[in-house]
């Protein structure tokens, strides 16, 4: 591609590998600057999507992340007959995202609090939840229970992974059951909703946090807006199923801008430190 002066008039004058147009305000944003600003528009604070691994880097104390089950990959349990075979889709998703599946899990410190964390990656088949997502999150929750750590899950997902059929659906129950054990043990679970968190992910673990926070403007809903549109046959109000809408209806605690997320999590996790509980019981 031929580079041109970025200060000319037409949109063509902004090569797409250098510039991105903000869907929030229409401003042309210089990519390097956008990345430096955590993928948040410098003029209107529109939050662009953010990768699962970058998210962990953003949230945890530097160098404290210890990844679990990094090599776990999907099988093809249904031998799914699709226009493209499922293993081919997986392969393509791996190349696109650089990840083995749609979630990264492990232990880390957040504000010096030892925490278990799972961070989803939307670039991997829309962050869809199949067996790998189900197994990795369940394991990290079980390890959190064993070591009495709080759990943070950052969701970015369109829902269950169709190519794994009912097996994918059952991952909802599997993860929720593991979270139940954390709850029984008095361990905190903080759910962070990012753009988008929909379908079976929202209808399971993402909605069950002791605290639920969302990034500004994230799509958060059970049914995709298109489905709702079709079923109802009427235009939906603007802002429908966005973080602000969900906050107004009472289903999340806070909207937290990306730049403040790390400190906010550190505050909550410190407040919930299990030490307080253990002391209470020991007295």
């Amino acid at each position: 591609m031929r580079l041109r002066m970025p200060f000319a008039r037409g949109r063509k004058e902004f090569p797409s590998h250098l510039w991105t147009q903000c869907p929030g305000c229409g401003e042309m944003l210089f990519n390097k600057q956008l990345v430096r600003n955590l993928n948040v528009c410098t003029s209107c604070e529109h939050h662009f999507r953010f990768g699962g691994r970058e998210r962990i880097e953003l949230l945890v104390d530097r160098g404290s992340f210890e990844e679990h089950d990094s090599e776990m990959t999907s099988a093809d349990p249904l031998v799914f007959a699709d226009s493209k075979p499922y293993p081919t889709r997986i392969e393509a998703a791996r190349a696109k995202s650089g990840e083995q599946d749609a979630v990264i899990t492990g232990f880390a410190l957040i504000g010096e609090v030892p925490t278990a964390i799972a961070s989803m990656d939307f670039d991997f088949i829309g962050g869809s939840m199949g067996s790998v997502v189900g197994e990795k999150i369940t394991r990290v929750a079980e390890r959190a229970l064993a070591e009495r750590r709080p759990l943070v899950i950052v969701s970015a997902s369109g829902g269950a992974r169709m190519q794994e059929g009912t097996i994918a659906l059952m991952q909802m129950a599997k993860i929720v059951a593991a979270l139940g054990r954390l709850a029984d043990a008095g361990l905190p679970f903080v759910s962070v909703l990012t753009d988008p968190t929909t379908g079976g992910v929202l209808a399971s673990y993402a909605s069950l946090g002791d605290l639920i926070v969302a990034e500004p403007g994230a799509l958060i809903g059970f049914s995709g807006a298109r489905v709702t549109d079709q079923t109802i046959g009427e235009k939906l109000p603007t802002g429908f199923q966005r973080s602000e809408f969900v906050l107004e209806h009472g289903f999340i605690d806070q909207i937290v801008p990306r730049a403040q997320l790390r400190d906010r999590l550190a505050f909550f996790l410190t407040a919930f430190r299990p030490v307080a509980h253990d002391m209470r019981w020991s007295l």
């Binding site: 659906l169 909802m172 139940g180």
Partner: protein, 321 residues
């Protein structure tokens, strides 16, 4: 997983049927009469198929319906109450479709709103509090996807319902009667035993929805249906359901009485089995049942993190006591 506690069900040689309840536990037993996935979808959606009320009327001796979620309203797409079966009191909760257009409109085509799931949760708690076994009947195209359902927290209601079932301290038997549509079905689907009628289907997404995404055409729904492996025998093979309840020849719609009788036989036998298991064992077996679902590949087998003392124990010296 309950089998671990009670000993594996043994199918009678050659036909794979359990003598006492007539349950099908081996998909090969019905291979000869097995239709296509699309036929199963059609049968499961047949408006003349027995719905929750028909099954409750035929399979239980007495039933008193209970209404309302105590929060917003009574959702007609979910029915529930206390019933008696073979001298045993139980709580029954089911999704209710209609058999006619008017009835379907009244029942919202069996698509619950959040208040339907919240009514279900209220009844689950009732079952737990009074130590009554819980029986759920699944029959829904899915949770209602309308804007008012979103406003009232459809996802939260489903998540809470799943959560409640995973930890409910009473025996839970799930029966998929017709359509098991995605998360809206799973909200009633976590039990110690999960059964399905022979021609029921259970899927992560409707075949039409899958076709629209995968093949960009609704017309490919038949192809999507078989790819999704949503029919009874598939579910049995995948371990999603524990056994199938046989339907009368031609399908459940041909004989409601016989279908209800088969459901009754299955429930009686399963409840009897579960009554012998202590609640704590039941809960851990239920956990393990769902824990075991999923297929993954791990090149270097399970690299668990090194075992360490929990940090709060390591740091205890610093804590003022």
């Amino acid at each position: 997983m309950v089998d671990k506690l009670l000993g594996k069900r043994t199918a009678v040689e050659t036909n794979g049927h359990l003598p006492e309840a007539g349950l099908i536990t081996d998909a090969r037993a019905i291979a000869a009469t097995r239709g296509t996935a699309w036929q199963a979808v059609q049968l499961a959606r047949d408006p003349k198929r027995p719905h929750a009320q028909d099954v409750i009327a035929g399979a239980f001796d007495r039933f008193q319906e209970l209404h309302g979620d105590r929060l917003f309203r009574d959702d007609p797409a979910v029915i529930g109450g206390i019933a008696e079966i073979d001298g045993l009191y139980v709580v029954v909760v089911g999704q209710q479709k209609g058999s006619s257009t008017e009835e379907n409109i009244a029942r919202n085509f069996g698509m619950p709103h959040p208040e339907g799931y919240r009514k279900a949760i209220r009844l689950y708690r009732l079952a737990e509090k009074f130590h009554l076994p819980l029986i759920t009947l699944i029959d829904t195209p899915g949770a209602f996807p309308g804007p008012e359902a979103e406003e009232r927290g459809q996802a939260e209601a489903i998540a809470r319902s799943i959560e409640a079932m995973t930890r409910l301290a009473t025996p839970v038997v799930v029966v998929v009667l017709g359509e098991g549509g995605s998360g809206g079905a799973l909200a009633l689907g976590v039990g110690d035993v999960v059964l399905a009628l022979e021609n029921a289907v259970y899927s992560v997404i409707s075949p039409e929805g899958a076709a629209a995404i995968l093949f960009r055409s609704n017309a490919e729904a038949q192809r999507a249906a078989s790819a999704l492996r949503l029919a009874g025998p598939d579910l049995l093979e995948l371990g999603i359901v524990d056994a199938l309840i046989p339907e009368p020849p031609g399908g459940a719609q041909t004989d409601h009485t016989a279908t209800a009788k088969a459901v009754r036989a299955a429930l009686t036998s399963e409840l009897e089995r579960l009554s012998r298991v202590p609640t704590a064992d039941l809960l851990s077996a239920r956990y393990e049942r769902f824990r075991a679902i999923g297929v993954v590949v791990e090149p270097s087998a399970g690299q668990a993190p090194p075992k360490k003392e929990p940090w709060w124990r390591r740091g205890i010296g610093k804590v003022r006591l």
